[in-house]
């Protein structure tokens, strides 16, 4: 154990007093709106990626997306909310309402100052910003953009914490409200931040999650430029193929998950059913490259070890690993190495899967969608599969749960993420009745 991990254990003795339960889930994902549709999709191993329809993708190298079929008015957003909110914020509000209802918080009398928000998002209101830029600049003709065409929402689009503010209004929060934006680990880190806010005593309830609606021309252009996205345009349904020898890039997607985190005793006192307990979270940086990964996966392995250490769990107690599995060769080998390094021989026994094979990679939202999937896996006793995995990469030699979901009890889950900027994060969830050692 490294010295800094030993320090983490010592500090934990003081901080571990307050435990954190996950008591509500709201989801808006490609292929299904609402947590039930989402879980049905994942456990059936169905894919929801398709040819991009939000705009004409013909100039793009990758023409594939995980899109949500979302009609905001049909999901009880008012016309003014639809006008005011960027698509990512609309997702977040709809998912938050589902999570609040699911947790039965409507009549909860917890003080507003004890309620917080921690929302993850990597690229903010990109779609709205690009749309408005095109008008204000007259399609790029003017460097001095025209103030007469600036819509009143532009400041809220400019600083994406406005989306966290919307969730604060949904849950009546006057405590800490934050948007966490660590690239593609935003969703995990936002849930991790909410977990810490409760553990530290700053809040009793936190609405935590991640949202992203990045499917706009500029997003495709910049991912095309670094050839990170998948060009398998003739077969979009099977384009996201983590750990498969033929995978060739990530599939951009949109989506959102919001969960209710609650101080354990607070949840127990009001008799709230718990999906899971959040027990550990750690972030590390690779300090290597803004878009590249190190060979050995050491930084991710260190994050996994630290999150397990905080949870007071041994590596061999992990029952399921929810992988980053972004469907790039670099990632799949990086995290396979990280699992071996952090879990040892147990890495060969534990089921590992990537739900990005079904819903694509929604950047700052996906980490929260994965946390939601982990909580549902614990609750339902089913491990979602890695779809489209037919020809395993010989260098990826773990049990990736190909094609078909597996029914089995799941009591300890690790979910991981990697992001541009070098971010490597891990979060640990356990079954709610599993008493930590």
């Amino acid at each position: 154990m490294s010295p800094q991990m030993a320090g983490e254990s010592e500090a934990m003795v003081v901080l571990q007093e307050r435990r954190v339960a996950l008591t509500g889930i709201g989801v808006l994902a490609p292929g299904g709106i609402g947590r039930k549709a989402y879980w049905d999709l994942l456990t059936a191993g169905r894919t929801a990626t398709r040819r991009l329809s939000h705009f004409d993708p013909s100039p793009c190298r990758s023409k594939i997306a995980g899109e949500c079929d979302f009609d905001p008015l049909a999901h009880q957003l008012s016309p003014q909310e639809v006008r005011r909110l960027d698509r990512a914020a609309q997702f977040a509000v709809v998912a938050a309402r589902e999570a609040i209802t699911d947790a039965g918080l409507e009549d909860c009398d917890t003080a507003a100052l004890r309620r917080g928000v921690s929302l993850g998002c990597a690229v903010g209101t990109t779609t709205s910003l690009e749309r408005e830029y095109v008008v204000s600049s007259n399609a790029g003709r003017q460097w001095l953009v025209d103030q007469a065409y600036a819509v009143p929402q532009l400041y809220d689009y400019f600083i994406p914490s406005s989306m966290a503010g919307e969730l604060a209004r949904e849950i009546g929060a006057r405590g800490p409200v934050s948007l966490v934006s660590t690239g593609c680990t935003s969703g995990i880190d936002a849930v991790g931040n909410g977990f810490d806010l409760i553990r530290e005593g700053a809040c009793d309830i936190v609405l935590a999650g991640g949202t992203e609606a990045p499917l706009s021309p500029i997003t495709y252009a910049c991912f095309d430029a670094i050839r990170a996205t998948c060009p398998r345009n003739d077969d979009p349904e099977h384009a996201s193929r983590p750990f498969d020898r033929t995978r060739n890039g990530l599939v951009l997607a949109e989506g959102c998950a919001v969960v209710v985190l609650e101080e354990y005793e607070h949840a127990r006192r009001r008799g709230a059913p718990m999906y899971a307990e959040v027990t550990g979270h750690a972030m590390r940086c690779n300090a290597y490259h803004m878009t590249g990964l190190t060979d050995g996966g050491e930084e991710m392995a260190t994050a996994i070890a630290a999150a397990l250490d905080q949870s007071r769990l041994n590596p061999d107690e992990v029952a399921y690993v929810n992988a980053h599995g972004s469907s790039t060769k670099q990632n799949d080998r990086h995290e396979t190495a990280a699992f071996k390094r952090s879990l040892g021989e147990h890495a060969y026994r534990v089921p590992v899967s990537s739900i990005k094979s079904m819903i694509g990679h929604s950047l700052g939202a996906i980490g929260a969608l994965e946390v939601a999937a982990c909580a549902l896996a614990i609750d339902d006793g089913v491990i979602p599969p890695t779809a489209n995995l037919h020809e395993p990469d010989p260098e990826c030699d773990l049990d990736y749960v190909p094609i078909t979901a597996r029914e089995q009890p799941v009591d300890v889950v690790v979910s991981v993420g990697s992001g541009f900027g070098g971010f490597q994060s891990a979060i640990v969830l356990t079954a709610p009745d599993r008493v930590p050692r």
Binding site: S2, Q4, M5, E8, S9, E10, A11, L15, P59, C60, A112, L113, V117, E130, Y133, S136, S137, G140, W143, L144, V145, D146, Q147, P152, L154, Y155, D156, F158, I159, P160, S161, A164, G165, A173, R174, P176, V177, S178, L179, V180, S181, T182, D189, N193, A202, I218, C222, F223, D224, A225, I226, M283, R284, C285, N286, A287, H289, M290, F420, G421
Partner: protein, 392 residues
């Protein structure tokens, strides 16, 4: 206990901490008509621009084309902060240092340039660097890579208040065992696309005279002036090292809860209101928000019960960077036992004891830094003077 051991400042008043502090004590404002682009066609015209510098003197050539202006400034500040703390990250354990920064709009000028290429020339003209040069996490990532910081990395976005949230997140990582954390924020959106976005907040001052545009707590307040820059701080849990100040308390609230942030921060620090020596106010310069802040300060400290200052009247509001600079300036105020002034305020509200026009020396044991954004985010951090200096 978390202490500040290093400070790196880049503001309109100076590209180094020493220049910034000297200009601040001279009550020298850096606000001027916008030079970065032609502001003639815009409703608002005054800004605080960082002094011009040659990036090649400060940064490896590889980093210059891949970074927005604000990231260049952030890298300069981070390097200065580490040097000030006497830390070479190579001497630390492999995961011994991390970084948490705040952001508002990301690398906006870089983003505007790439959007223009996209729409005027076509998607194949968009830079490969666009995928990370504009996004909110860029400063944390670039600082981590440049200095080999493999510990926890984080990014807080909370309107213009994110820097103090970042400080709280960094303090948490120190408590969890990482020995060194860099934190703070450096920011800029001084390009036409950012300018128009800030204008629609309805809070920017339309006055064209640089000495009249931004006058918080003044009967003539008409809004704020944007600036660019910020500060990166080095935080450690090692009180045996020379340090500027303790991070004694923090609180974060949302909505109509500024007064709660102040009270919760003092509770977190276990410091009584009468022991606070100065308040670095947010000072929005927007009459309605100034009134809320003045009422909150008065509710906790009493009418004119504590010296209040807004040194950002000299720099403009640096988006997420402003509160980081206030924290740095407050730490310097504790070290030098002098309260820096507020400038350009001629008709101050009577209920506050505003420190106007010249520095006010005194015995200052602690400093409260407040920040708010128009979106309703409020943060408070209390700094206290190092114990060994209490008697000097």
């Amino acid at each position: 206990m978390t202490v500040i051991t290093g400070i790196g400042v880049v503001t309109p008043t100076g590209n180094t901490t020493a220049e910034h502090w000297a200009a601040t004590l001279r009550a020298e404002s850096a606000l001027a008509r916008v030079r970065r682009f032609d502001p003639s066609g815009y409703r608002c015209q005054v800004a605080g621009e960082a002094p011009a510098f040659d990036p090649a003197e400060h940064l490896p050539s590889r980093l210059i084309p891949q970074t927005d202006h604000m990231t260049k400034l952030a890298l300069i500040a981070a390097k200065a902060a580490l040097a000030d703390a006497g830390i070479d990250p190579a001497d630390l354990p492999r995961y011994g240092a991390g970084v948490v920064t705040a952001a508002t709009g990301g690398g906006y000028e870089f983003g505007q340039r790439e959007l223009q290429k996209m729409w005027a020339l076509g998607p194949e003209h968009v830079s490969a660097y666009q995928s990370f040069a504009w996004f909110y996490a860029v400063n944390t990532g670039q600082i981590s890579i440049r200095h080999g910081l493999r510990g926890p990395g984080g990014v807080a976005v909370a309107d213009q208040s994110g820097a103090l949230q970042a400080v709280a997140m960094a303090r948490r990582q120190l408590r969890k065992g990482t020995p060194v954390m860099l934190t703070g924020a450096v920011d800029s959106a001084l390009c036409p696309w950012g300018w128009v976005a800030m204008q629609v907040s309805g809070e920017l001052s339309p006055r064209p005279e640089p000495d009249r545009a931004y006058r918080p707590f003044d009967a003539d307040a008409q809004g704020w002036v944007p600036g660019e820059g910020g500060a990166i701080l080095v935080l450690e849990n090692d009180t045996t090292k020379p340090h500027y100040a303790h991070i004694a308390g923090h609180a974060s609230t949302y909505g109509e809860a500024l007064v709660d942030a102040i009270r919760l921060c003092l509770v977190d620090a276990d410091v009584a209101p009468e022991d606070v020596g100065v308040v670095f106010a947010d000072g929005a310069g927007v009459p309605s928000r100034d009134a809320v802040e003045a009422a909150a300060i008065t509710a906790v400290f009493g009418p004119a019960g504590v010296p209040v200052t807004v040194p950002k009247t000299m720099t403009g509001r640096l988006l997420s960077g402003g509160a980081a600079v206030d924290l740095a300036t407050a730490a310097l105020a504790l070290r030098h036992q002098v309260i820096p002034p507020t400038v350009n305020v001629t008709r101050p509200v009577p209920e506050l004891d505003l420190v106007l026009d010249r520095p006010r020396p005194g015995s200052i044991g602690s400093a409260l830094v407040l920040s708010s954004g128009p979106g309703g985010f409020h943060e408070a951090v209390l700094l206290t003077r190092p114990k060994e200096c209490m008697t000097c």
